[in-house]
Symmetry: none
Subunit: 191 residues, 4 copies
DNA sequence: TATGAATGAGACTTCATTCAT
DNA sequence: CATGAATGAAGTCTCATTCAT
């Protein structure tokens, strides 16, 4: 007996998550209704409520999963000294983490207004802000700060806006990172 | 008598526009209901419909007004040769245009998903894309392209994300522009 | 001077009436809004209210004008004895009156539900019923009654439903009247 | 216990249909709001939307149910030769079908303008036109055509307008059919 | 003779959520 | 593990009508 090894505890929850992710990305969080998610899955709305307490909960679960690399990066960052070398590494690791987390941040970006009031929205925003703070840590002169911002902006938003450029995603990612690092290095000259 | 000079034939239309702008920026387009706008103005919902045909129309009017500097910039850009000097100028002018258009693009950014289906959303997006195309015109190698993107990203998104940094807005704008121009200039070295 | 002879007292009222008639016929009474009528005329809604007290009033004016032939027929009918010959004449005159009144009855037919509550609706319905009563007057056996109904139905509804048939309107009208008269004559045989 | 036998999984859908039918007949389609239907049933408007996608959908469901006899008649008619005998039979069967379909056609007639734009309206109209075409099939001279129209008009509209006459419904229906058949037969003489 | 501005009522519809089964 | 049924709140929009100018 027990031909299904140790009963995978229902994959429905995961299917909900991934369907919701797809729809949130393509249509937006608010514009995606639970009815749509349920229909896309071939279940009833009530079924969603068996697996998640609220609509927000679905996004929270997605956020917890896709945001992990960024969380780990934050943990790592907090333990480092605020040197330029740390920041170079931070930028590189963030660029890398975005590979997985991009859909999540796409949702955040495109639905900021809608998520503003939601716990999950605040959490998502916090992560971005924290990365930004780690990047800015210690550096005082505005000229510096702005360069640090620029480097992060390049890596972060570049991930979304360079979709229209030719070339494969990984190549573009590296190119963006290179530019970001250069900007970072240029902070050495001033002040 | 009558401190209201020569009885303007009702400035309600403009008041709707500016109230709506405020609310769209602070709460988002979708999250702002016509009821709220009407209440904030002390009129009825129906009054809004006397002045604007639909909710989208209100945003369109705002977009036409605040987006004018960018439209003019586009017109200018199209008439220029695709030289580095043009791009430097383009970046500078765009930075400048953003002073007025920033709220508009803030709305676009934070409500992208919600505006995707709307005519006005497409128009807004188009403007951004066009600026981006003018910036990328003619330059082939990916390394170049990415730098051009980075420069624009810095100026565009910097306008929103540096709100958290100390310093007055105009100073920060100039600092961002300087970084952007530097990135642009660095395209000379490669290739 | 006074090239406009004795000032035609504003033809706007009449223009409203005829535009409204057109729209009521083509779209229905309820489906035609005052905004549409006003726009079609190039005036404002408020202008309509200068000439007519309510929307219903516009239809009432139309009804008074186009319904006159039927009113006259009713007056005539009431003064006649309830003989078969009277009914033949009644049918012929009604057929003739419909030439002018048809649009009016088209409105009544197609918007019966909407007009049920309205004074003008009741008045319109009354006219039809009265004609019908004049037609049925005096005749007792059901077989008779039904024939009389059939004759009237033929003339009345035929005016609308034979639009799809080939042939010019007047020819069809006469043909319908002939059939109606035949049916009427057939009442002689039974009983 | 439980006088409600085996707990029907909710008959609400049917109750909505029959309540709506009643109201559509007595007040008209447009004049009947979903609020009214809901209140009459003691449910909320949203409940209606659980069972039907739109207001029109409710009428469509009603139309599908009550219109079935006419649909069957059309199917039958299409398979017959265009002889006088067929037309006699068609008229008889149509008269019979109207017993069930009358409320439906009452709605169509009294709300024609309102239903013109609706899919269900077009479907309803089509049915009537098709019956009429089957009736007219093959017969050329206008005198014939008009007689055929008259016969159908008598049976169709007679069903509604003879409500005011004394006598029970079934008797009147037969009487109308008889007259209709006579008119049909009279087509033999001319030409 | 007409307009500009505004209103109050009400329409259809959609949504996230709940709960008994 | 999931469904069927229902709700309450809210949203966008349209309409006939009014009134000061």
């Amino acid at each position: 007996m027990g031909s299904t090894p140790q009963a995978r505890r229902s994959d429905t929850r995961e299917r909900i998550q991934s369907t919701a992710l797809e729809l949130f990305v393509s249509q937006g969080y608010e514009k995606t209704s639970l009815r749509e998610i349920a229909e896309a899955l071939g279940v009833t709305k009530a079924a969603l409520y068996y697996h998640f307490k609220t609509k927000e909960d679905i996004l929270t679960a997605i956020s917890d999963e896709l945001g992990r690399p960024v969380d780990e990066l934050i943990a790592w960052g907090r333990a480092q000294p605020a040197t330029l070398e740390t920041k170079r590494e931070l930028l590189a690791r963030y660029s890398s983490a975005l590979r997985e987390a991009a859909p999540l941040y796409s949702i955040l970006q495109e639905n900021q207004a809608a998520l503003r009031e939601l716990g999950v929205g605040r959490k998502l925003t916090e992560r971005v802000i924290t990365i930004s703070q780690l990047m800015h840590a210690g550096d005082a002169p505005l000229a510096h700060q702005v360069r640090l911002s620029s480097a992060l902006l390049t890596v972060h938003f570049g991930a979304f806006t360079t979709a229209r450029l030719e070339g494969d995603a990984e190549t573009k990612r590296k190119a963006l990172l290179d530019v970001g690092l250069e900007i970072l290095d240029s902070t050495r000259d001033d002040g």
